[in-house]
Amino acid sequence: MQLFAQSTFLETEGGRIRYAASIEMPKAYLSGICVLLREGNVVRGSLFNEFGVTALDFTYHPENQKVKLHHVISMMDKWYIRRVLRKDLAQLMLRLQQGETTYHNERRHITYQLKVMDNG
């Protein structure tokens, strides 16, 4: 199964890719780095800001297109935020599989964007 059309990086076991990430909301803007790692049939992801403070740890299961959140920074750790994040991240991962790097949540006016970084 081809997981990510835009890059062959995550098509192989142990493949890893780093993105410059941004989340734009009506009253806030967050930027940082998103690292994705393919492990078996699961993609593990971590999103942290430039200073290194982790906002999210998650896993994405391409078979059923579900995201499981393993860690959410305390300030965002509310059930209603988790629900939005789970759904939006699943949509973002799905877009990545299709070769796109942006997902816009029309209802909540949130835009998620990933841009591939040089992997070092």
């Binding site: 890893r16 780093r18 410059a20 941004s22 803007y29 930027s31 780095i33 690292v35 790692l37 593990r44 992801g45 971590s46 942290f48 800001n49 430039e50 200073f51 290194g52 403070v53 982790t54 740890d57 393993h70 860690h71 920074i73 305390s74 300030m75 970084m117 040089d118 070092g120």
Partner: protein
């Protein structure tokens, strides 16, 4: 005889404990003194983020400028370009796409990050008893201070902060930020220069 040995053991233990306390007080005094005489500081830094869940790490590099008492410029140059400027109550966040100015009093996350970054590199976190419970140990050529957050907002961010001080000048040379999920960020400070004039432009927020 047995009682005498116990008494001797107790006396030696108390003596060693008092010596350790005295030594710790001297180290704190040396660090406080170094921080208070530091009007400006500039250095290069290497930041390594350790991701526990991904068993991965990422290194970024940049340059830092500090001016007593409330000005900090933290600039990443590789592998991404990102500048964070703290000037009193205002923060400027600048990346390739945009500039954002934030009032730190209205943004809890940035207020804490700004405070931690600045107070850690200068070493004043060690004397902030309201925010941290601290212990100090001597390891070869360095002093290691372990800071356990006491305030709720700090506890939400970090499990522990470890500051490594150079014994020869009582200045911070490495900061370890350990998060609640087990991730760790290590910041090494290199080519440190103190008390040299820094242009006010470095801290300008427009």
């Amino acid at each position: 005889m047995k009682r005498l040995l116990i008494l001797l053991f107790v006396l030696v233990s108390v003596h060693l404990s008092l010596m350790a306390q005295q030594n710790e007080a001297q180290i704190r005094q040396a660090i406080t003194q170094a921080a208070s005489t530091m009007k400006t500081m500039q250095c290069d830094f290497t930041q390594t983020k350790h991701l526990k869940m991904l068993n991965d790490k990422m290194t970024s590099k940049g340059r830092m400028y500090y001016q007593q008492t409330n000005r900090l410029r933290w600039e990443y140059t590789s592998p991404y370009s990102y500048t964070f400027i703290l000037n009193d109550d205002k923060v400027l966040l600048k990346n390739a796409q945009r500039n954002d100015v934030i009032d730190v009093n209205k943004n809890k996350l940035f207020r804490e990050i700004a405070r931690i970054m600045m107070n850690s590199v200068v070493g004043t976190s060690l004397t902030d008893d309201k925010s941290f419970k601290s212990t100090i140990a001597t390891n070869g050529s360095e002093w290691t201070a372990s800071l356990l957050p006491q305030r709720k907002d700090l506890k939400q961010l970090f499990q522990k902060i470890i500051l490594h001080f150079n014994r020869t000048n009582a200045m911070v040379k490495q900061v370890e930020l350990i998060e609640r999920n087990g991730d760790k960020t290590v910041i090494e400070l290199n080519n440190i220069r103190t008390n040299e004039k820094i242009s006010a432009d470095m801290f300008t927020i427009r």
